[in-house]
């Protein structure tokens, strides 16, 4: 597949509007306005394309847009571009924003038009300082060229776009946490229902879409829904996809491929990861960011990287952050690392998550440091099971237990070795002297 979303990123001056327009940029927006597309037609086109949200949940984008009530009772509709890319292992949106920001801006404009939104925001994570600066420059250029603002190109449509920087919290990537944060409040997810499409930011109907999702909309308009739907493994998993490959592979990075790329191809393919570093074996793969269950080396056989393919393996594609661990990785250390992250990022409103994530981290820390007890393994499982599946307002807790719980289940022997021998089974600390407790 020829690159679609990343077609321009290596070009010199890919950020500027002149280069973007020279490459046919904003053609989709001009097409929609000059051909007199109605918002409904645009939504229909996106529905036909089969585009599913690239942020993690994989919900069909057109269907989501359709949830906006027909009668909004005089309230405005908001579009929020979720650029709070904070799932560990994920760095695809950053690439799009920093290297081809106008593609993102055009995607936002088109999608805002589709949902009759007059005020759109790009919520970008605080750590992406460069991304925010680049996007702000791009938005200013778009205003200067009349692509944004009042009565765009003499049409009746006006749109304002604001870049808003977060303050650095993982939970603000959850759409209702993002909404609270955008409203100037503490970033805490809201109780659902009501869903954002009915009552979101400032109490008005709101759509939150991921950066990559919005970028896809540009190409759906340019080349048609049929073209988009033909890319991908099947009609439920369509379009081009950015994969973030990291870990002990030879060539980590962002790769674009049709949705449904085989996981093994991504790791070993010449166009992608080019195999494991130093020829080591694969031990485990996290296929969808820190929130996804780990897969074992056996499970990565015939694992198409799309929403349904990874789900069939008992994990999820999530943000398509593929983290590869080799045989020298201590799985307890990996789980400890994950649990530390989630302990640090829990917003603290729900009891099980606020109390459970630090507990999980403390127990994993103890096992890794050689102070584990035989009953700790059952304890880990129990803590995990007590945190998830409806115990909390949002799915953060479900994400927090994914790594630890799947590793306990799939690598039980290694945990047992840790507890019994007070040291790692593999890795740099495998031979260290036993810790006396």
């Amino acid at each position: 597949m020829d690159p679609v979303l990343t077609a321009r990123i290596a070009k010199p001056g890919s950020r500027g509007i002149d280069g973007y327009v020279a490459d046919g940029g904003y053609g989709a927006w001009k097409k929609v306005l000059s051909e007199g597309w109605t918002p409904e037609r645009l939504t229909e086109e996106v529905k036909k394309s089969g585009l599913r949200g690239r942020g993690g949940a994989g919900f069909p984008t057109g269907v989501k847009w359709g949830f906006i009530p027909k009668d909004t009772k005089g309230k405005p509709v908001y579009l929020l571009c979720n650029a709070d890319e904070s799932e560990p292992g994920t760095f695809k949106d950053r690439l799009l924003m920093e290297k081809d920001p106008h593609q993102v801006v055009e995607g936002v404009i088109l999608s805002a038009y589709a949902i009759k939104c007059r005020d759109a925001y790009i919520y970008i994570r605080g750590e992406f300082y460069d991304g925010a600066r680049i996007l702000e420059a791009a938005v200013a250029e778009a205003y200067a060229q009349g692509l944004l603002g009042e009565k765009i190109f003499g049409s009746a449509y006006s749109l304002d776009l604001t870049v808003h920087r977060g303050a650095g919290a993982y939970i603000c990537g959850e759409e209702t946490g993002l909404i609270e944060s955008l409203e100037g409040k503490r970033g805490q997810p809201r109780i659902k229902p009501p869903f954002p499409a009915v009552s979101g930011v400032f109490g008005a109907p709101t759509i939150v879409n991921n950066v990559e999702t919005l970028a896809c909309v540009v190409h759906i308009v340019n080349r048609g829904a049929e073209w988009f739907a033909k890319i991908g493994r099947n009609e439920k998993n369509t379009g081009p996809k950015l994969y973030c490959l990291s870990g002990q592979v030879n060539r980590p990075g962002v790769y674009e491929a049709a949705l449904g790329l085989q996981l093994k191809d991504l790791i070993f393919g010449d166009a992608y990861g080019r195999g494991m570093k130093d020829g080591r074996k694969v031990k485990a793969v996290i296929p969808g960011g820190a929130s996804a269950n780990m897969l074992t080396a056996a499970e990565i056989e015939d694992c198409p990287l799309d929403f349904d393919g990874v789900a069939a393996k008992g994990s999820m594609l999530g943000s398509a952050a593929i983290i590869v661990m080799n045989e020298d990785t201590c799985i307890v250390d990996a789980a400890r690392n994950l649990s530390k992250f989630f302990s640090h990022e829990s917003c603290g409103q729900c009891t099980p998550c606020r109390e459970g994530t630090p507990w999980l981290h403390k127990v994993l820390d103890r096992i890794e440091e050689g102070a584990g007890r035989p009953e700790d393994i059952a304890l880990l499982e129990r803590i995990c099971n007590q945190m998830a599946n409806g115990m909390t307002i949002c799915v953060f807790a479900d994400a927090a237990i994914a790594g630890p719980l799947s590793s306990v289940k799939k690598f039980a022997d290694e945990y047992r070795h840790h507890v019994e021998n007070k040291r790692c089974l593999v890795g740099p600390r495998a031979e260290a002297a036993a810790v006396t407790v």
């Binding site: 603290g348 729900c350 099980p352 403390k362 304890l379």
Partner: protein
């Protein structure tokens, strides 16, 4: 054209009247509940307990504590009851294994970082965490790590009336929501996040709104406690008695919490029409003033010396003075002064006595106080009088009768009674004003009933020892016209008697009334004689329901 004319249409049956209740099925048992209730309250109405911490009926629903977990038919995951909208046919399961284990899980999570030192915690005995732990928790926990500490945020005053201890906090945010949504002052907030979350003031400033102790009231644990009450008494030793706040004329329903004839605190009683779940700090902290007393004997002053004498003898002496004045100068030479601090029954007795003697000179006064505000269910109420019962005293007839005069005439010297009977030495600020006392003292004979000495008692010829609010029964009529009953928390120590007892003694000595009357019987006479008091519903008299700190509902109240 059709030959068959259409048969006349039968009138459509009227649509069934819209139900104002939902049928909710609790563990298989259908119960009709009002539509606007939260599921937790609906369950309570149905006699089903759903344990919870963060839910409070007057505060927004946040669904954070995850204690009220139930199973809802048709939903695969466990649900928080507080955030589940009520609807017709909703089937709720509260006794399944999944519910039991989920609640036990939440309890375990809540307790892993909670200091399990109930014996030295002031909340013990009225702690929702304690109660729910016994009801829904498990004995043992496998938590074996260090407990979370909050150096500098433990046992620290967070305002003039509240001590905060974040090690005990369960992050339910009731106090934060109280300050935002009821007080409207928004002092409190969450700081930090995750396991390090704590509640504190935004800028480190004080939690000092007019209702700050209510933030401690809504706290289900010992994280916020009231400074004045902290470590004064174990709550299970305290006896609750329904009472009325004496602080202003709003007449907030409260309970006197007393032990061994000592008042330890006031707590609000739930009355949606008056004070709802709240009390202002001013009224709340009047509680301990009820314990103050330096008049505990009847005294009489003769030839410059002050002597003790038994109360009946003192009353007889007053009666003799009154009879003497009537014989020499007539009943118009007497002045009866009631009090906005005394009950309707007492002011009624005083007026009846004056009527009996044919004396038109009677009055009651009230001081303007700092306006006090309280948020009822229907909105803010402002009380501007510094006494609870001016309206009631007036309605009992304590205004100058035909040809009579009031306090103003006496104080200005326009009228000079021979005998002044002040039923309450603390009738107002004038009682401590030397000029006013001197004016009253111009009478040949001055008798007062008192609990605390002041300029007036020091000037009086006879002082009778009178009971405090906690030591007697009665009713106050608040600014809304609501006659609300307060009850006796404990008996006064002899020879101290309630004002109504003293007045009744005097009345019978002067040939009116029955010495066996009780406040209830006096109330019945008021109902017969005083316009507007005939058909007061019992619910209005009784007022709100008792509450305990931390919880919003006691004895199944909503």
């Amino acid at each position: 054209m059709s030959a068959n004319p259409e048969p006349p249409k039968a009138p459509a049956p009227p649509p069934p009247p819209a139900k104002d209740t939902f049928t909710v099925i609790f563990d298989g048992r259908p119960v009709e509940v009002p539509k606007n209730l939260n599921l937790i309250d609906a369950a309570k109405l149905a006699g089903v307990e759903i344990p919870h911490f963060c839910y409070h009926p007057r505060l927004s629903v946040v669904g954070q504590c995850r204690m009220c977990l139930v199973e809802i038919e048709g939903m695969p995951k466990i649900q928080a009851a507080c955030t589940t909208p009520l609807k017709d046919g909703l089937s709720v399961k509260t006794t399944t294994e999944k519910v039991r284990s989920s609640r036990a899980a939440t309890m375990e999570f809540l307790l892993i970082n909670h200091p399990l030192d109930c014996p030295i915690c002031d909340q013990a005995g009225e702690c929702t965490l304690q109660d729910n732990s016994f009801g829904y928790g498990q004995q043992l926990s496998e938590y074996d790590e260090a407990k979370r500490q909050y150096p500098t945020f433990d046992r620290t005053p967070i305002g003039p009336n509240v001590i905060a201890d974040m090690t005990r906090c369960i992050q339910c945010t009731r106090c934060i929501r109280f300050c935002q949504e009821i007080a409207g002052t928004s002092e409190l907030t969450f700081l930090d996040r995750g396991g390090r979350t704590l509640v504190w003031t935004h800028d480190g400033g004080p939690l000092a709104n007019e209702w700050s102790a209510c933030a401690a009231d809504v706290c289900p644990v010992g994280a916020l406690t009231v400074r004045q009450f902290r470590f004064r008494s174990r709550v299970w030793y305290l006896q609750k008695t329904p009472s009325i706040c004496p602080g202003c004329n709003i007449g907030c329903n409260n309970s006197i919490e007393a032990r061994e004839n000592v008042v330890y605190r006031f707590l609000p009683r739930l009355n949606p029409d008056v004070n709802d779940y709240w009390l202002c700090d001013h009224g709340r902290f009047l509680s301990e003033s009820l314990n103050l007393r330096d008049v505990s004997k009847a005294t009489w002053r003769e030839a410059g010396a002050v002597r003790d004498l038994p109360v009946p003898a003192a009353v007889d002496r007053i009666a003799a003075e009154i009879r003497g004045a009537i014989e020499t100068k007539g009943a118009a030479s007497i002045f009866f002064l009631g009090s906005a601090h005394l009950s309707n029954e007492e002011n009624f007795l005083l007026r009846k006595l004056a009527d009996h003697l044919g004396c038109p000179n009677r009055d009651v006064v009230v001081d303007r106080g700092k306006p006090r505000k309280i948020k009822s269910q229907k909105g803010w109420i402002t009380g501007e009088e510094a006494a609870p019962n001016f309206r009631g005293a007036r309605e009992m007839g304590l205004t100058p009768g035909r040809g009579g005069y009031g306090l103003e005439a006496v104080l200005s010297g326009k009228s000079a009674p021979d005998v002044v009977i002040a039923a309450d030495a603390e009738f107002g600020a004038a009682a401590d004003d030397p000029a006013a006392v001197a004016a009253l003292r111009k009478a040949k004979f001055l008798a007062v009933a008192a609990r605390r000495s002041n300029a007036l008692t020091r000037a009086a010829d006879v002082v009778l020892p009178a009971a405090s609010l906690a030591e007697k029964d009665g009713t106050f009529t608040n600014l809304q016209g609501r006659a609300q009953k307060f009850e006796r928390a404990f008996l006064s120590k002899p020879p101290v008697r309630a004002h109504w007892e003293l007045l009744l003694l005097l009345a019978t000595a002067l040939g009116w009334g029955d010495p066996d009357w009780t406040p209830a019987e006096l109330r019945a006479r008021i109902a017969e004689e005083v316009p507007g008091y005939g058909d007061r519903p019992e619910s209005e008299l009784d007022g709100g329901r008792l509450l305990k700190k931390g919880d919003f509902a006691w004895k199944g109240a909503l």
